[in-house]
Symmetry: C2
Subunit: 147 residues, 2 copies
DNA sequence: GCATAAAGTTAAGCCCGCTTAACTAAAAAG
DNA sequence: CTTTTTAGTTAAGCGGGCTTAACTTTATGC
């Protein structure tokens, strides 16, 4: 590295490598579990944003409620998702990860983390702390923006 | 943030947010272009690793050569990929992004980067430089590990 | 209370990715 | 030179995701 690049440039370079790697990782993982990417994405989304109904799934993935319903049905059949009536509105459903669903997701994350830990192994203590701080900053901001 | 977390913890939190976001971003982008995720993935991979043949695609995505051939065919039809004979081995093909293919990919990246730039906007100059440095370190390592 | 809207489900049908199998053509092995 | 291996294409068929349309059930507006 000749000179210090801008933060924006660094982010772009990082994203290039990082996105490429993590996307391929997830799709391979999905294949291994027998689930499809859309199905895994729904699990991730439930874990990330908490319980919601069918139509929320539809909106977030920009698919019809019918499609969302069918995908969720498969996840329920597989025991990854719990689907119960919303006590406040009996038309609506409350979707939640089952322990099995959570476990599956965490296994997928583990695989991604193993790759990342491999990156950290070769860093000095000083570098590690810098990386840690910077990612903490970014993550906070991302959560804000993502709302 | 109460106390400084380990680098590994920071990476995990970061991965959670970023993977989720970037994957959804790409799949929405793909939908907008009329291409499927596997097709976009192939474009990304060509851009990232350079020209290769059909069977290399098959190996990298863990699909049959027949499947790879069919996917590539669609990308060639769409004008996103150039497919020519390998002069060194006339059985083999050399696949390359066309300008149109490259442009499409870059548009996708732009969309992701716009989100990221939104994150950077709210950072102080000091934070920006920290982020920049840390991501530079990580990117270098990632490229090494990725081969 | 009745009409209307909203949340989900189900079914029919389309497109797409993927696999296997059969095939062509070129290179490597003997 | 013949045999075998390698790269790629093509076709048939399966399964999955998605859409539209018709329907059920529950909530809401007047």
């Amino acid at each position: 590295m000749t000179k210090s690049p801008s933060a924006s440039q660094s982010l772009r370079a990082f994203m290039d490598v990082f996105m490429h790697r993590s996307m391929r990782g997830w799709s391979q993982f999905a294949k291994g579990t027998g689930l499809s990417m859309p199905q895994v994405s729904i699990l991730m989304q439930l874990h990330h944003k908490g319980a919601c109904g069918i139509s929320t799934i539809g909106e977030r993935f920009d698919i019809s409620n019918a499609a969302a319903s069918q995908l969720v049905e498969k996840l329920v059949q597989g025991g990854y998702v719990n689907r119960e009536e919303d006590p406040n509105d009996r038309r609506s459903k409350l979707l939640n990860l089952t322990p099995k669903g959570l476990e599956l997701l965490q296994e997928g994350m583990e695989q991604r983390h193993r790759w990342l830990d491999g990156l950290l192994k070769n860093l000095s203590t000083d570098e590690k702390s810098k990386v840690s701080e910077a990612l903490g900053i970014l993550t906070e901001k991302a959560k804000e923006v993502d709302r």
